[in-house]
């Protein structure tokens, strides 16, 4: 009896240990065409814990829109051609090489042979064709569909043989290969059935059994505990190896803990419960820097990000009956000199210092110094000048009364409201600073914090606002994703939405230039066109650009191959190459106080 009890105990322990251990990387098969990574060689083992603001919403790469879901999904799936986050250039991924046709419209991609999904099933051109069918299907409603439709026509995918695919675009598209970044290749063997049955959008929710989910990324789903964490484990069939032919990833597990907002994430990181923290505010960064010498954290200030914050005036044509106050004030907003005067009066240096703790950069255009390839360096960066602002207002017919109030040409005092999201403390601070700046011009500004959704509703739907402070950008340095903002009929052409045709000459010129650069394949020529667009924007001030924050990240000292980047995903884009160094003897472990 005793021996049976002992045996049972041993078996149970072995089973538990076997279950708990992450899968070892599969042995390398000579038929696999693997990608060799050139980075530092690391060591196997370990588990990385990352804090998330809230739970992801889904594991479905096609329908996921929120950043939290994409953070998890991005580690489980792979794309055909990737943009290297550090060099910002494209490099082969699942497609090991490709050829462009001379007219720039066709791409023939050769896929890697012998690759398998995380559940062991083989990957080939059928999966690619299936994936694109799903992305382009309007019934599924993927947000990525818009990226694959040019001039209203979707791109066409054709399978040439088991490992070759051809994409044909409706017309030549500059940097078309950048389109593929982030488009996860889906397993046809798992998803074809739900797709045919019409409930694709509901598949791969968070509660899906891990064995029903598979991808080509470095990790696969191991376990989801509702409200607490989602754990990913190594994909034993991952198709990348390091310089010494060890199959990646090095890490056994990635553990995403749902800890809460930025403050909670910083507290957990300080306590050593999480290993990495991304997109810190400058205050939190300064707080961590104070303890850096003791804890040995790797804290990086990566320089200006690609996002831009701005003050925007409501120039949408509105029903003067219902919103007559706003319609009356639009006469001021439409005056270029008024907008230029506001831009001249804004104290951008103080915004950078007080809002971003000097870890930021002032902006006078939508392309800032973080985007080295595309910034127009010759756009003027005028210093703040109240004198210039006053001159501009005077020449536009405004004048001041005895108590210093600014009045328009009909004698009404100039005052307006700025709405901004109450949850974004930085934009709230910018609003307060601008309020003070404009008070020196005699303009009375009211700051109204609104719930984020309520603000979006006013800016996009009801147009019931006068001015707003918002932010855009940040995805890709390439000009093409900015088309939505600058094309007159673009979805985020915020100051004047739903234009059926360009409302002004300069908007018409921007339309032409942006369309042109989209089909120009030569970088030099594209740069000239985009430079001119930036110049027109700077001259006509549809947005009063304010500032951009630096990208601030942190990680524990033991994390090797930590190469954070200015592009999303700032810290985990190379999760397949991250590894944990064994701590050197005598060094205090991070987080133990």
């Amino acid at each position: 009896m005793k021996s049976i009890a002992h045996l049972t105990l041993v078996v149970c322990l072995l089973a538990a240990w076997g279950w708990a251990a992450a899968p070892a990387p599969a042995a390398i098969n000579s038929s696999e065409e693997l990608q060799k990574e050139d980075g530092e060689v690391g060591q196997y083992g370990g588990r990385l814990v990352i804090g998330q603001r809230a739970e992801p919403k889904t594991l479905n790469p096609v329908t996921a829109t929120d950043a939290l879901s994409r953070e998890v999904i991005g580690r489980c799936h792979a794309d055909l051609i990737s943009i290297n986050r550090v060099s910002q250039k494209t490099e082969p991924a699942l497609a090991e090489s490709w050829k462009t046709s001379p007219d720039g419209r066709s791409f023939t991609l050769k896929l890697r042979k012998g690759i398998r999904f995380s559940d062991g099933q083989p990957f080939d051109a059928d999966d690619v064709v299936f994936s694109f069918t799903v992305y382009l299907d309007e019934a599924v409603g993927s947000p990525q569909r818009d990226l694959l439709v040019i001039d209203g026509k979707p791109l066409v995918v054709a399978k040439l043989d088991e490992y070759t695919v051809r994409f044909t675009l409706p017309r030549p598209y500059a940097a078309a290969e950048r389109l593929f970044d982030g488009l996860a290749m889906l397993p046809k063997h798992l998803l074809q059935k739900p797709y045919r049955e019409g409930n694709f959008a509901q598949t791969w929710s968070l509660n899906t059994a891990p064995s029903d989910v598979a991808g080509l990324g470095p990790f696969r789903v191991k376990q989801y505990v509702a409200g607490q964490r989602i754990v990913l484990e190594r994909n034993p069939h991952y198709w990348k190896v390091d310089r010494e032919n060890h199959r990646l990833p090095y890490l056994d597990e990635l553990d995403f803990l749902f800890v809460g907002g930025e403050d909670q994430q910083v507290m957990r990181f300080e306590a050593g419960e999480t290993d990495m923290v991304s997109r810190l505010s400058s205050e939190n960064y300064a707080l961590l820097r104070k303890e850096q010498s003791r804890s040995g954290w790797q804290l990086s200030d990566l320089g200006p990000s690609l996002e831009y914050n701005f003050l925007l005036f409501n120039l949408n044509p509105i029903d003067a009956g219902k919103m007559n106050e706003i319609a009356r004030k639009q006469a001021w907003f439409r005056d270029l000199k008024f907008r230029q005067a506001v831009s001249a009066a804004v104290d951008r240096d103080s915004i950078v210092r007080l809002v971003y703790g000097a870890r930021g950069t002032a902006l006078w255009g939508n392309v800032g110094p973080g985007n080295k390839l595309w910034m127009n360096q010759s756009i003027p960066h005028p210093q703040r000048s109240m004198e210039a602002a006053r001159q501009l207002l005077k020449s536009a017919g405004f004048f001041w009364n005895d108590s210093g109030q600014l009045l328009d040409s009909s004698g009404k005092p100039v005052e307006f409201t700025i709405v901004t999201s109450s949850s974004n403390t930085q934009r709230m601070k910018m609003a307060t600073l601008i309020q003070d700046d404009l008070s020196h011009l005699g303009i009375q500004v009211h700051v109204v914090p609104l719930d984020f959704r309520a603000m979006l509703d006013r800016v996009f739907q009801s147009f019931d606002y006068e001015a707003a402070i918002m932010g855009l950008g940040g995805g890709d340095p390439d000009p093409n994703p900015e088309m939505n903002v600058w094309l007159s009929n673009g979805a985020t052409h915020l100051w004047h939405l739903n234009e059926t045709q360009p409302a002004t000459d300069w908007e018409r010129e921007i339309d032409t230039l942006m369309q042109q650069q989209m089909v120009t394949l030569d970088y030099g020529k594209r740069k000239k066109l985009y430079d001119r667009v930036q110049q027109i924007i700077a001259e006509n001030v549809p947005f009063v650009f304010l500032a951009t924050p630096d990208v601030l990240v942190g990680a524990k000292s033991q994390i090797g191959n930590f190469h954070p980047a200015v592009l999303d995903h700032y810290t985990l884009w190379n999760a397949d190459q991250l590894y944990l160094r064994a701590p050197a003897r005598g060094v205090e472990r991070a987080g133990i106080r």
Binding site: S422, T425, S439, H446
Partner: protein, 339 residues
């Protein structure tokens, strides 16, 4: 004797607090919205009386921005000027003056409680903010007391179905989750109101919520007073309802009203602070004890800049003072009603 001493101390302290806040424009060294963008999050400047060269009139040193904060420039003394000229302000809305209690010479700043993220003097904002917060509390209490008296008296005096229906409405108000009601009421209002408009609105909204409890107390008193001998006698002599109420019944309620008011005021000050804390009350740049505490929701601010907690301390002190006053009034009511 000791009790009278304590009472005197309490009344004196409350008077001092309220006078200080009333005279905010005189006592505060700077205007509420005056930003100093070179001195964000500056710690309080201590007042010194002595340095290496001996004793002096009270003086301060200047903060110089440093790599990771500020350091004191101890080379120059900046004496505090009393009753000096500063930024002009309006006195009770009647005339303008620029006489201020404390000033220091530029470029030093007199910061008894440090600065906030825009370099605005926290001490000045505390006083100006006190005006908004206390005034809201006091005026809202006035509205509540007036409403409660009206409704309670009508219910208690006329009785029957009037009494029952009014008290039923009162019960409804009692079980309202007042916090969500406040937020909801604020959401219905226009996007932007002038400062005066917001102020008035806050007062009305806060004041209307809490009438039910005092109303019931007053109803009880009116009910019992209605049947007293002297009231019946006066009625017998032909007195009108109005006369009875004014001369005999309502004076009975004054004691309880005072106690209730003393309890409601700190509650309403806290209600205004809560609304402003959440961004639903007075907006920038007008200070209120609530919106001055709003930045402390950020972990780094709470941990690194503790001087910004001053409005919380002020709220606690104010509340405690009013509760002590309510206690005193309560004892006074009891001792009188025994007679």
């Amino acid at each position: 004797m000791r009790r009278k001493l304590c009472l005197g101390f309490l009344v004196g302290a409350m008077a001092a607090l309220h006078c200080a806040i009333l005279a905010a424009a005189f006592i505060a060294p700077y205007d509420a919205g005056a930003q100093d963008r070179d001195l964000p999050y500056a710690p309080p400047t201590r007042v010194h009386f002595r340095d290496s060269s001996g004793w002096h009139a009270p003086f301060v040193y200047r903060w110089i921005p440093d790599r990771d904060g500020y350091r004191l420039d101890t080379t120059t003394r900046y004496p505090i000027h009393f009753l000096a000229r500063g930024e002009s302000h309006s006195v009770l809305g009647i005339f303008r003056s620029n006489l201020r209690l404390f000033q220091v010479d530029e470029p030093a700043r007199l910061l008894f409680l440090g600065t906030d993220s825009f370099g605005r003097d926290e001490f000045s904002r505390l006083l100006y903010g006190g005006q908004i917060s206390l005034a809201t509390g006091l005026l809202a209490t006035l509205i509540t007391v007036a409403t409660a008296t009206l409704i309670g008296t009508i219910a208690g005096y006329f009785g029957n179905w009037i009494d029952e229906s009014l008290m039923a409405v009162g019960e409804l108000f009692l079980c309202l989750p007042w916090f969500y009601f406040l937020i909801g009421a604020r959401a219905f209002l226009p996007l932007h109101l002038s400062v005066a408009g917001t102020f008035l609105l806050l007062i009305v909204v806060i004041g209307i919520i809490g009438w039910a409890r005092p109303a019931r107390l007053i109803r009880g008193i009116v009910l019992s007073a209605r049947n007293r001998n002297y009231v019946l006698a006066a009625r017998g002599f032909g007195a009108s309802s109005f006369y009875l109420l004014r001369r005999h019944i309502l004076p009975e309620t004054s004691a309880i009203l005072l106690t209730q008011a003393a309890l409601l005021i700190p509650q309403y000050v806290a209600a205004e602070a809560t609304l402003s804390f959440l961004g639903l009350g007075v907006s920038e740049p007008v200070p209120s004890w609530g919106n001055m505490l709003s930045p402390l929701q950020q972990y780094t601010v709470l941990v690194s800049y503790s001087w910004l907690l001053a409005p919380a301390v002020a709220l606690v002190i104010t509340s405690v003072m009013y509760w002590l006053l309510a206690d005193v009034l309560h004892h006074w009511v009891q001792s009188h009603s025994i007679n």
